[in-house]
């Protein structure tokens, strides 16, 4: 495990920019897909979400994220790199909590692989969220 996939707090513009710069490392990556998951100001039984507090099982997240990357590389031979970053702790509405970047030779595999990576993250990363409402009450989801 070379990477750490978790970051404390929202994924800032600065981090996003740093990640995007990595596209240029792959001179053969014509198609690059970036997914940014933002905390939505959802309403739940008349109460509006103001933030989500994420918690995670760090070791297992790292192991599962490595597994996701291996799956993607084995299924998509045109993919050059996969980056995954997930927030822990409090992320307010309008802030980014999940980043996935797939660099690929051509666009088709970039799109399919990015989409599959996000689905695998939702299904297999041990991350939990506590939705915090404007009145400071919360629910787990």
């Amino acid at each position: 495990m070379e990477d750490n996939y978790l970051i404390s707090g929202p994924i800032s513009q600065k981090i996003i920019s740093e990640i995007i710069l990595r596209i240029g490392r792959h001179k053969d990556a014509g198609g690059n897909m970036l997914f940014l998951g933002q905390v939505r100001a959802d309403e739940n039984e008349g109460k509006r979400v103001k933030a989500i507090e994420y918690s995670a099982y760090t070791e297992m997240v790292n192991a599962e994220a490595e597994k996701i990357k291996r799956t993607i590389f084995s299924e998509f031979d045109d993919v050059k790199s996969v980056e995954i970053i997930h927030s822990t702790g409090v992320v307010s509405t309008g802030e980014i909590s999940l980043l996935v970047l797939v660099c690929s030779g051509h666009r088709q595999q970039a799109m399919q692989a990015c989409s599959k990576t996000v689905e695998l993250i939702k299904a297999t990363l041990p991350v939990w969220k506590k939705e915090i409402y404007e009145d400071d009450s919360h629910t787990w989801s």
Binding site: Y57, M60, S97, I121
Partner: protein, 77 residues
Amino acid sequence: MEVKVLFFGVLAEVSGTSIKHYENVRSLADLKLKIQDDFPEMFHYNFRFSVNNTITDDEHVLKAGDEIALLPPFAGG
């Protein structure tokens, strides 16, 4: 023999605990009974177990030093 048990998400909240050590548990089924004694309210929630980062079932035989986690449904993203 001792194992380490981690509680996540809503389970950490309802138990007021995030780590607890248990002794003399041979299998996940054994451990489950002990946890149920300590935190009966936890069993109103849906969760799975992992042993050393791998999700597994009740039959799993435990060994000293194993890290067990109680995992509510994942909600990343």
